[in-house]
C-alpha cells in the first residue's frame, strides 16, 4: 500500500473511533447503555439494522460469489421483506409493549425461566462464535494480501471498536454505523465506476452487462429445477430464497439480540416498524448492486488476464513445493487461453455492436472459460494434496485482489477502510447484544439479583469488554472455513431455526407450556447439529453408525443432503410439531 493509502485508512479508522467516543454520552443505566434511552428515529434504526447485517464478509464475498457463481446469490434475500412484514405485525409491538431489554425476557413471561435461559444460551453460543469469525474473516484476507501479521490484524479488526462500544453502548454503535455506511457506499460506488472506466475504449456499461450476461453471470433468477426434478441441495434459487430466506431472516431479525437490540432503540413502535420496512425495501436492491460489481469485475477479466488463483500466498506455497513444474505448465496454458479470451470477447462486442450474429464468439468464449476453469481446478487439486495442504477457496480474495491490482492510490486505502468499517459495524452491535443478554438474562437473573443503576452500568461495560476479548481470542484460533460468508450463515442456520421455533410457539400456540417447548428445543437442536456433522460421523465412527436402526440412518442421510438454508425452516417447523406432540403427551400424563 502507498503512503496515501495508509493516510486514508488511518484517518478513516481514527475518525470513526473519535466520532464514536464523541457520541458516547448516554445515561448511566441499562436503558441508556443498551437501548439508547429508546430515542432513535427510524433512519438511524434502518442504518443500524443494515450496518449490523452487512459485515465485511458481505463486501468481500458477495462480489467474489458473483464472479464465480453469478448473481443468483441475491435470491437468498428474497425472504427478507416478507420477514420484515411479519416482524412488524407480531414481534415489534410485543417487545415494545413489554419494554424488554432482550428478546429472551419475553420467553420467561410466556413460558418459564429455563426456556428463557436455554434460548439466551443458544444465542450467546452462536453469536459469540460467529463474531469471532466476523473478525477473523476479513483479517485473514487482508493479512494474506498485504503480508500483515494475522495476530495484530485480528487485534486491530476486533480491538479498536471496543473503545467506543464499551464507552458509548448502543448509542455509539448506532451513530458510528451511520457514518460507516456513508464511507462504505462511497467506496463501493467509486469502485463500480472505476471498473467500467478501466475497460477498453468503446466498451460501455451495457456492453459489460451483455458480456457477463451471455457468459451466465447475470443469472439473478434461477428455479433449482433439473432434469431429475427440484434439486434440494441447490443453495440459491428462488424457492430456497423465498422460503428458506424468510425463515432465516425471521430468525435473525426477530430472535437475534444483535438485531432486536437495534430496533428496540427506536423512540416508538412506528419508528421501529418504518426502520424494518425500509430495510425490506432497500436490502434486495443493495445486494443486487454489490453482486453486479462482481459480475462487472468478471467482464473486466475477460479483457484482462485474471490471476490463475486470486490468493497469491497459496500460489507461492505451490511455487516452493514439489509441484512447481506442474504449476508452470498450468500457468503457461492459462496465459495462452487468456489471450484467446481477450480476442474472442472483442470479437463478440464488435459483432454485437454491428448487429451481427454473436452465437459463434459466445460459444467459443464459453468453451475457453470452461477450459480456464478446468485449469483453476487443476491448481486447486494441487492445493488440496496432503503434502501441500493449502486453502483451495479464493472466492473472498477476488474483489480485493482486483482493488489492489487496478485501483488508483488512495482508493485502495479507502476500500481497505470499507472492509474494516463494515466489520466494525456488525461486531460492535454483536458485542452490545452479547453484553445485554449476559447482563439481563444471566447475570441479573442468577449472579447478582439486586443491582443499583450504577452497578448495572458498570457490569454492562465490563461484559462488553469481556465479549470483545473473547471474540478476538476465537478469531485467533479460527481456521480454514472455505467461503466465509457461508461459514457465518451455516453457523446461524444450525441454531436460528430452533430459536425461531420457540418464539413462533410462544406467539401463536397459546396452549403449549414451558416443559414441552424446553424438551423440544433440546431434541430438535440435537437432530439439526447431528445432521450437519453426519457425513463426518459416518467417516469417523462407521461402526457406531452401522449399528443404528436403518430408518434413523436413512433419515439422517436425507437431512445431511439438504442445503443449510433449509435448516432454518426445518428447525422452526420441527419445533412447532415436536412441541405440539409433546404437549399432548405431557397433558395426558398430568391427567
Amino acid at each position: 500500500m502507498s503512503q496515501l493509502d495508509w493516510i486514508v485508512l488511518g484517518v478513516s479508522l481514527i475518525g470513526i473511533v473519535a466520532y464514536g467516543l464523541y457520541k458516547s454520552k448516554t445515561t448511566r443505566d441499562l436503558d441508556g447503555y443498551f437501548l439508547s434511552n429508546r430515542t432513535m428515529p427510524w433512519y438511524l434504526v434502518l442504518l443500524s439494522i443494515m450496518g449490523t447485517q452487512a459485515s465485511a464478509i458481505t463486501f468481500l464475498s458477495a462480489p467474489g460469489q458473483a464472479y464465480t457463481d453469478g448473481m443468483r446469490f441475491v435470491q437468498y434475500y428474497f425472504g427478507l421483506p416478507l420477514a420484515m412484514v411479519l416482524l412488524c405485525i407480531t414481534f415489534v409491538p410485543i417487545f415494545h409493549k413489554l419494554k424488554v431489554y432482550t428478546a429472551y425476557e419475553y420467553l420467561e413471561n410466556r413460558f418459564d425461566v429455563k426456556t428463557r435461559t436455554l434460548t439466551s444460551f443458544l444465542f450467546l453460543l452462536q453469536r459469540g462464535l460467529s463474531t469471532g469469525i466476523s473478525i477473523y474473516a476479513p483479517s485473514i484476507i487482508l493479512s494474506s494480501l498485504f503480508g500483515w501479521n494475522i495476530f495484530w490484524t485480528n487485534i486491530v479488526m476486533g480491538g479498536l471498536l471496543i473503545i467506543y462500544t464499551v464507552s458509548g453502548g448502543a448509542r455509539a454503535v448506532a451513530y458510528t454505523q451511520q457514518l460507516q455506511f456513508v464511507i462504505i457506499f462511497v467506496g463501493m460506488a467509486v469502485t463500480a465506476y472505476m471498473v467500467v472506466r478501466l475497460l477498453p475504449n468503446g466498451i460501455d456499461f451495457i456492453d459489460t452487462l451483455k458480456v457477463s450476461g451471455r457468459l451466465g453471470k447475470l443469472n439473478v433468477i434461477t428455479t433449482g429445477n433439473t432434469d431429475k426434478g427440484f434439486n434440494w441441495n441447490d443453495r440459491y434459487n428462488i424457492w430456497s430464497g423465498i422460503i428458506g430466506g424468510f425463515f432465516l431472516a425471521l430468525s435473525y431479525f426477530g430472535t437475534d439480540q444483535s438485531q432486536v437490540g437495534r430496533y428496540l432503540t427506536a423512540k416508538s413502535v412506528s419508528e421501529s416498524r418504518i426502520g424494518l420496512l425500509m430495510n425490506g425495501l432497500v436490502k434486495v436492491p443493495m445486494q443486487f448492486l454489490i453482486l453486479l460489481v462482481g459480475a462487472m469485475v468478471f467482464t473486466f477479466y475477460q479483457f484482462n488476464q485474471a490471476p490463475l488463483f486470486f490468493n497469491q500466498t497459496q500460489v507461492a506455497i505451490v511455487e516452493s513445493s514439489s509441484y512447481k513444474d506442474s504449476l508452470h505448465i498450468i500457468q503457461q496454458r492459462y496465459s495462452s487461453l487468456s489471450a484467446q479470451k481477450k480476442k474472442l470477447v472483442e470479437q463478440f462486442v464488435g459483432d454485437y455492436k454491428s448487429g451481427r450474429n454473436t452465437d459463434q464468439p459466445v460459444t467459443a468464449l464459453k468453451q475457453v472459460n470452461k477450459e480456464t476453469e478446468k485449469l483453476r481446478s487443476d491448481f486447486k487439486n494441487i492445493l488440496e494434496k496432503e503434502d501441500v495442504n493449502g486453502d483451495s477457496n479464493d472466492t473472498n480474495y477476488i474483489f480485493l485482489r482486483f482493488v489492489v491490482d487496478y485501483m488508483p492510490k488512495g482508493l485502495v486505502g479507502l476500500l481497505i477502510a470499507v472492509i474494516f468499517l463494515a466489520s466494525w459495524g456488525s461486531i460492535a452491535a454483536a458485542l452490545n447484544s452479547l453484553a445485554s443478554t449476559t447482563v439481563v438474562d444471566i447475570h441479573k437473573k442468577f449472579v447478582q439479583l439486586d443491582c443499583t443503576e450504577a452497578q448495572d452500568y458498570s457490569i454492562s461495560k465490563w461484559y462488553t469488554f469481556a465479549w470483545g476479548i473473547f471474540s478476538i481470542i476465537i478469531a485467533q484460533f479460527a481456521g480454514n472455513m472455505g467461503s466465509l460468508i457461508e461459514a457465518v450463515n451455516v453457523l446461524g442456520s444450525l441454531f436460528y431455526g430452533v430459536i425461531l421455533g420457540i418464539f413462533l410457539v410462544a406467539f401463536y400456540m397459546k396452549s403449549i407450556r414451558g416443559n414441552a417447548v424446553f424438551i423440544s428445543a433440546i431434541l430438535v437442536e440435537i437432530i439439526i447439529i447431528l445432521s450437519f456433522v453426519w457425513p463426518w460421523l459416518t467417516k469417523k465412527i462407521p461402526s457406531v453408525i452401522d449399528k443404528m436402526p436403518s430408518f434413523i440412518q436413512h433419515f439422517m442421510e436425507g437431512m445431511a443432503n439438504i442445503s443449510f438454508l433449509w435448516l432454518n425452516a426445518i428447525g422452526a417447523i420441527g419445533m412447532i410439531v415436536m412441541s405440539f406432540l409433546l404437549q399432548l403427551v405431557l397433558k395426558k400424563r398430568t391427567n
Binding site: V74, S212, G213
Partner: protein, 44 residues
C-alpha cells in the same frame, strides 16, 4: 400474557394504515422479482 390484538395506537406515516405499508413492501418485492426475471432473460 400479552395480547397481540392490543394494537398500539400511533399515527401511521405516509400510508393510511400499516396494512397498506405491508402490501407496498410485498408488492415491491414482486415487482423486483419480475424485473430480475426480465433482466436475467434479456442479458442471457
Amino acid at each position: 400474557m400479552i395480547n397481540m390484538s392490543d394494537e398500539i395506537k400511533e399515527k401511521v406515516p405516509v400510508f393510511r394504515s400499516w396494512n397498506l405499508w405491508y402490501a407496498f413492501v410485498i408488492l415491491f418485492l414482486v415487482v423486483l422479482i419480475i424485473l430480475f426475471t426480465f433482466f436475467t432473460n434479456y442479458f442471457a
